[in-house]
């Protein structure tokens, strides 16, 4: 029986393997997904050999952690050429964070599971930037998936632990973590991976993980009621609210897109169908001039506020996942093609130059930026603090 089964498995695998071929050039999958011509990325990689070996390595050598002390009293400047950065020791946490927020109340982490064996063991943790340690851990009833703090409260999107129950947006008191308000979100089995705030409204993109039907919701901070509910289908993920409306990433497998919604009536338009790269988890960063969107090995582009003009793509070998931006440029996740390390980088928008690339100890899962540091949650747990000079970017880039 055993030998028969082994023979059958061998035959099945061989037969199956021989029945599939890499997709032909120009092949298209059903729907709007666009197949990238086989070999195109290889060609890009060959070209990137020179760029990566030279450019990024030079940046790392010139501005790497061994040469760049950060603690100075120099005044902030907008000259990107003086950006310096170094990554500190990893700050231990009780689990892998999927969302980070840095603000006046500290650095906040949403940790879906502290114990992999206990599905409902999520927590919120706060890091004190003064000591680089976790000072508070608050239990959450549910699975926290996104977090954002404002001047008074900590807002947490939490998935219910019970199938079929509605998710919630929780308002927590930063002092002791008690729930001041809980807003039921009208999307069954919904998960929100990102939050943003604009003019007294908390915004989120949330989708039913089983049906991929979702909505962009706006919750009034004062009344704690859902005041906007714009239905949007897709596997919704990052969100950024800018002066021209709401920008959302659809993470639908191989049919990704940047969606723009009119804040007044919810009318929407899809951009970059099939081209948005979400593998790094960093795909969107709002900026005064528009939004940065990741196009993977094509680089990243800046889409203006009208959604009509695209600048770029700015190509960074190894990928480009933007997560915070201001008028001078954008912070991004990247892969240093020379050392094969994951890095946090800064791209100077006017020149297209990468000015800093700081290697991380592990793959990032989430990041936030404040006046002095980039806080990066790491795969498997822990947070790296990347200290830098001169850059001042609002959290998520939405409020520069």
């Amino acid at each position: 029986m055993s030998n028969d089964l082994e023979r059958l498995i061998r035959e099945s695998l061989r037969r199956r393997a021989e029945s599939v071929w890499p997709p032909e050039p120009g092949a298209r999958r059903a729907g709007s997904w666009r197949w990238e011509r086989p070999g195109r990325r290889i060609a890009a990689a060959i070209v990137a050999l020179g760029l990566a070996a030279g450019g990024f390595a030079l940046v790392l050598v010139a501005l790497g952690p061994n040469k760049v002390p950060t603690a100075t009293n120099q005044p902030a400047t907008r000259d990107a050429s003086v950006v310096r950065a170094e990554v500190g020791a990893t700050i231990p946490t009780q689990g892998e964070a999927v969302s980070v927020s840095s603000g006046p109340l500290g650095v906040w982490l949403a940790i879906p599971e502290r114990d992999p064996a206990a599905p409902c063991s999520g927590a919120i943790e706060r890091i004190d930037p003064a000591t680089n340690t976790v000072t508070d851990t608050f239990d959450i009833d549910g699975t926290p998936t996104a977090i954002m703090d404002d001047a008074d409260l900590v807002w947490v999107a939490a998935q219910s632990c019970v199938a079929g129950e509605l998710p919630s947006l929780l308002a927590l008191a930063p002092s002791d973590g008690h729930v001041i308000a809980s807003v039921k979100l009208p999307v069954t089995n919904g998960v929100a991976f990102d939050l943003d705030e604009s003019e007294g409204t908390i915004w989120m993109a949330i989708a039913d993980v089983n049906t991929d039907r979702g909505a962009v919701l706006g919750i009034d901070e004062a009344t704690r009621e859902v005041v906007h509910n714009f239905p949007v289908d897709g596997r919704l993920r990052d969100i950024s609210v800018t002066q021209s409306g709401i920008w959302v990433i659809d993470d639908m497998f191989q049919r990704t897109a940047l969606i723009h919604l009119d804040e007044a009536n919810g009318s929407s338009a899809r951009l970059f169908d099939g081209r948005v790269d979400v593998r790094s988890r960093f795909a969107l960063a709002g900026a005064p001039a528009g939004v940065w969107v990741s196009l993977g090995t094509e680089g990243a582009s800046l889409v203006d506020q009208d959604g009509t003009t695209v600048t770029g793509p700015y190509v960074v070998p190894g990928g480009f996942g933007p997560f915070a931006a201001d008028e001078a440029g954008v912070w991004f996740w990247g892969l240093d093609m020379t050392s094969n390390e994951q890095v946090i980088g800064w791209l100077d928008a006017p020149t297209g130059d990468v000015r800093v690339g700081v290697p991380l100890p592990d793959a990032p899962t989430a990041a936030a930026v404040d006046a002095n540091s980039v806080w990066v949650a790491l795969s498997g747990g822990g947070v790296s603090r990347v200290d830098f000079e001169t850059r001042a970017v609002g959290d998520d880039g939405a409020e520069p």
């Binding site: 695998l13 060959i46 070996a53 090995t297 093609m337």
Partner: protein, 169 residues
């Protein structure tokens, strides 16, 4: 960065990368397909493997390209599985599974059962019976112990026997 020019060494490296691609792309694609069950993801994984491995390929002798690329593909696949874990958990609340590609064309019952195995169990069987790798090498590729490979393989075989037995009844 734009001002940098490719050097002769880089061009030679590019030629080696192209050679490696021509020799190994199809096999890598098929390996990725067998562990993931998704043709389109497989091509992404195979191509990304070459991008990630390009510098190493310049250093390695040609006979070591295959094993090295195989390891990179499996690492990328494991990373993909890890990244989707949270979404999988969410999906499991409702019972569906991002990694179960049903495929209307599915007629091979055993293949269908293989696809329903947990990712690591499936990988153990693919590496053992398609790549003909010994358990020691499988453990190295999957980043686990030999004992784990043996136990995962045994569990997978037991499941397949049970399913096949039940289906025959």
């Amino acid at each position: 960065m734009e001002s940098l020019r490719r050097t002769a060494t880089d061009e030679a490296g590019g030629d080696r990368l192209q050679d490696a691609y021509n020799q190994h792309h199809q096999r890598l694609f098929r390996l990725a397909y067998l562990v993931s069950g998704d043709m389109w993801l497989s091509e992404d994984l195979a191509q990304e493997a070459f991008v990630k491995a390009q510098n190493k390929l310049r250093e390695l002798p040609a006979e070591e390209w295959g094993p090295y690329l195989r390891t990179v593909v499996m690492n990328l696949w494991r990373r993909t599985v890890r990244r989707r874990r949270l979404e999988l958990r969410g999906r499991n609340l409702g019972g569906s599974d991002w990694y179960t590609p049903p495929g209307p064309e599915e007629r091979d019952e055993l293949w269908s059962l293989l696809l329903r195995l947990p990712p690591r169990q499936r990988a153990c069987l693919v590496l053992r019976y398609y790549e003909d790798m010994p358990d020691r090498d499988i453990a190295a590729v999957l980043g686990c112990s030999i004992g784990t490979v043996k136990s995962q393989s045994a569990r997978a075989m037991a499941k397949l026997r049970k399913e096949l037995g039940q289906n025959e009844q």
